[in-house]
Each structure stands twice: as C-alpha cells, then as structure tokens.
C-alpha cells in the first residue's frame, strides 16, 4: 500500500499499459488518445462525469470494445495484436460489471465454476473446490447452492467478484461495481474489494465511492471528454485538483 502515486512510471513493468488509445462509436470519438499505466498491486480509481469515457476505457482493456487506435499491453502481451489469444488473456483480466451479470440459470457455485471447467479445463471436483474457496473468500460460503434471484444485490456482486477472482486474474477491472446497489448493501462489496486490495491484487475501479477511494486508492485519474485530464493521489484530487473541471466535478460528488 506504500507504492507511490505514479509507481507505473517506475522501473517495474506495468501490468496494464495503454498508449494512444482511441475509440469511436460511429462519428463520436469517445476516447481521444489515452495514455494510462497501472503498476503491479496498484489500485487506481477512475472518476469523471458521465460520458467522459471511463467505462469505455475499462471495456477496451479486455477488448469488450475494440479499440480503433493505440496499444493495450496486459502483463506484457499486446491485446490489439491480431495473433493475441484474447480468450486466454481475458481470464487473466477479471471484470466486474455494474449490473452483476450473473448467469440466472446457474447456482452461485456454477456461476463461478463455468469458466474453470470450460476455459481452464479443470475437473468438476477441482473446479468445485476452487469455486467454494472463492465464494468463501467473499463471505458467501452459505450461498453456494443459491440462485442469483435468491441473493441480494450485494451478494450477487460478491458472487460476480468470486467468479472473476477464481481465475486468478493479474488485474481486476471494476465498472461501477456499487452503483446499482441499495446504499446499505454497498459496504459488503467495498469490504470485499478492500480485502482483495490487501492481498495485493492489481485493480482499476471506475466508481464514485470517494471514501473508499480516499483510504484504498493509490492514485485517482480524472477523465473528461475522452481524455485523462488530471491524475494524482486521492488526497490531491479530492482536496486540491488543479483542473477547473476536476474541481467542479469533485465538489459536485462531495455534496
């Protein structure tokens, strides 16, 4: 937790290195040349107004959106290379969605074990073992057999985290993981994320949970209009941002 705010610029090879990333939807340029790096074990928060391109940036990092220009390196592998085995890379890049996206026809355990069985080709016994351990880690040992419809939003999101976690990703991407949750359920998801952070997982989080950002993030990135406008320690971004738009935005979400 002592890694410096710009550790990605240090000697250690970044886990995620984005260079000159451009993404267009038709005529609309959503990302206008993003340079962004995340060092091992770093937790980076991405904030910014709606439509600033935060989610698109995240979704380009596992190619759920195809980038139009630029380079995305994850753990030393170029994702935009046509020879890149994207499925092999994706299991090393965990993703957690705003709307959980659990498979409603499968139990919590089967949600977790599907990729273990079909992607990592583990035996049912081994997959079940890993799946139970992953669910235990997010505090859901007693919900192994439950179906998503029987779980609260917070529990569903923790199953989704366990699903990503069970593949032992190099980096986890969180796309507004708590914004679909009732306020009283946010805490359990943040506690799980904090626990992952303490175990040294590299994380990129698109979220406006300022309190969490303040005491868990190494670095906060502020995006606006498809560009990274400012970045720095949570302390700096949340108390004394230099960019006027960042200042206005932080004042707005702090209210």
């Amino acid at each position: 937790m002592t890694s410096g705010p710009l550790a990605a610029n240090g000697a250690e090879r970044p886990i995620l290195q984005v260079r000159g990333l451009v993404k267009r939807f038709g005529a609309l340029e959503v990302l206008k040349g993003i340079d962004f790096a995340v060092a091992p074990q770093e937790l980076v928060f991405v904030i910014g107004p709606s439509g600033s391109g935060k989610s698109t940036l995240l979704r380009c990092c596992n190619r759920l959106e195809e980038p139009d220009e630029g380079s995305i390196m994850v753990d030393g592998v170029e994702l935009t290379d046509p020879r890149c085995d994207i499925n092999a890379m994706r299991r090393r890049i965990g993703m957690v969605f705003q709307s959980f996206n659990l498979y409603p026809h499968l139990s919590a355990l089967r949600n977790v074990t599907l990729a273990l069985r079909k992607v990592l080709r583990k035996s049912r016994r081994e997959a079940d073992e890993i799946g139970r351990a992953a669910l235990a880690r997010v505090g859901l040992s007693d919900k192994v057999a439950a179906y998503p419809a029987e779980l609260s939003g917070g529990q569903q999101q923790r199953v989704a985290i366990a699903r990503a976690l069970s593949l032992e990703p190099k980096i986890m991407l969180f796309d507004e993981p708590t914004s679909a949750l009732d306020p009283e359920l946010v805490g359990s998801v943040l506690a799980t994320m904090r626990d992952m952070r303490e175990s040294g997982l590299t994380m990129v989080v698109v979220s406006h949970e300022m309190r969490f950002a303040r005491d868990a993030a190494d670095r906060v990135v502020f995006m606006d209009g498809g560009r990274i406008v400012e970045e720095g320690t949570p302390e700096k971004i949340f108390t004394a941002p230099e960019n006027p738009r960042a200042r206005a935005f932080v004042a707005e979400i702090a209210r």
Binding site: N62, L64, N87, A88, M89, R90, R91, I93, G94, M95, F97, S99, N101, L102, Y103, P104, H105, L114, A115, K118, V119, A160, R163, A164, L167
Partner: protein
C-alpha cells in the same frame, strides 16, 4: 337424430375400424418422433447461422426462413414427393414428409430460438466472454439455456402445430392416423372413423394445450 348418431358416432363401426386406426396412430407417433427432433435441431442450426458474422450466411438464412414460412407445407410436400422424381430423385412417403417438415419446421423453430436468443441481455455475453469463455461455449452454456427457457411456451405451441400438421402426410399415402381413418371411412361409408381419429388428436393434444396456457401464465407473471 338417430341418423346423425349412426353416421358420426357409430360404435360398431368404430370398433371395426379400431385396429387400423390404432396402426395409423402408431405411424403418426413415429412421424412425430422423427419430425419434431429434426425440426428442433434444424431450427437451432438456422438460429445459430442467423447470428453468424458472415453477411452472406445471414442473408441465406433470412431467405430460407422467408420462403419456408410463406410456402404452405402441403405445397412443399407435394413438390418434393411428386416433383423430385422428374429430377431422378424418388423419395419414400416417409422421407418426403420428413424433408418437407424439416424445411418448414427449421424456419419456424428457428425464428422462435432467435427471439429467445435476442431476449438474453448483452451483459450475459459480456460477462461470459470476460471470463475467457469462447463464443461457442458462451452460446452453449450461457445464452442458449436462458434463450430456450424464455421461449418454452412458443416451442410447445409450435410443436402442437407440428403434431396436427402431420396429418398432411395422408396426401402422399403415408398411412398415419388421418389416412387410416379416411380409408376406414371410404370402405364403411360412415364418418365415425374420422370422428374417432379426431377424438384421438384431442385426447393427445388437449393436455398439452392446457399445460401451454399454464406455462404462458407463469412466464407472464
């Protein structure tokens, strides 16, 4: 009144016709066991192809669906059975019926599957792909099970139509239930065998129709 009963509900004639009608019913069952799985499989193939990245394949499937949803299945059947011999291909009545039903049912079942697949949210694809699952695995283990569950009432409803439609096999002298009953009618000059056949369809399909409206209510709820 008595004449009516004699013509339509003549138990004596029904008893005489029973063996041949039972045989016809057996053939209808056999036909169903062939054409329903064929149609379900063909429909799945058509639906999968309609999701293809290849525009040519998608347009081919679209054309196929349009043609066979518009053409009366009876016309297709007669074309296959009586037309193909001129091209040197002679199909047995059973084979001709199976082929005609495959063509017709693949398009109807295919459209139902497609609606089901489209009813599954984009987030399901994304979640599955984000864990490294390939597109075929995602389709087979995540999308299709949900898609089928969402359209079970429509699949059942179409299957009822298919069962009823097997009676058109009678026009190519395949001795299914209607053909058998009509043979009995023509030798007895009495309508009772047809009534008996109608009752058999009713007894078989009525519970399914009942089940269907219950399913529809549950999905709606």
């Amino acid at each position: 009144m008595e004449a009516l009963a004699h013509q339509f509900f003549n138990l004596d004639i029904m008893r005489q016709a029973w063996p041949i009608i039972l045989q016809g019913f057996g053939m209808t069952l056999l036909l169903c066991l062939a054409v329903i799985p064929l149609g379900l499989a063909g429909g799945l193939l058509v639906a999968t192809a309609s999701l293809s990245k290849s525009r040519a394949l998608r347009w081919t499937v679209k054309g196929f669906n349009d043609v066979f949803r518009a053409l009366p299945p009876l016309v297709v059947l007669i074309l296959l059975y009586s037309g193909l011999p001129f091209a040197g291909i002679r199909l047995s009545p059973f084979a001709a019926v199976c082929l005609a039903f495959l063509l017709n049912n693949s398009s109807f079942y295919g459209e139902i599957y497609r609606a089901g697949i489209e009813s599954v949210g984009r987030g399901q694809w994304e979640a599955a792909r984000s864990t490294g699952l390939s597109a075929p695995h995602t389709f087979a283990y995540v999308i299709l099970p949900q898609a089928v569950r969402n359209v079970i009432p429509d699949l059942v409803s179409n299957t009822v139509e298919v069962v009823k439609l097997t009676s058109i096999a009678s026009v190519v002298s395949f001795t299914e239930l209607l053909y058998a009953a009509d043979m009995a009618r023509s030798v007895t000059f009495n309508t009772s065998p047809i009534v008996l056949a109608a009752l058999i369809y009713l007894v078989i399909l009525w519970p399914v129709v009942r089940l269907m409206s219950r399913l529809e209510h549950r999905v709606a709820a």
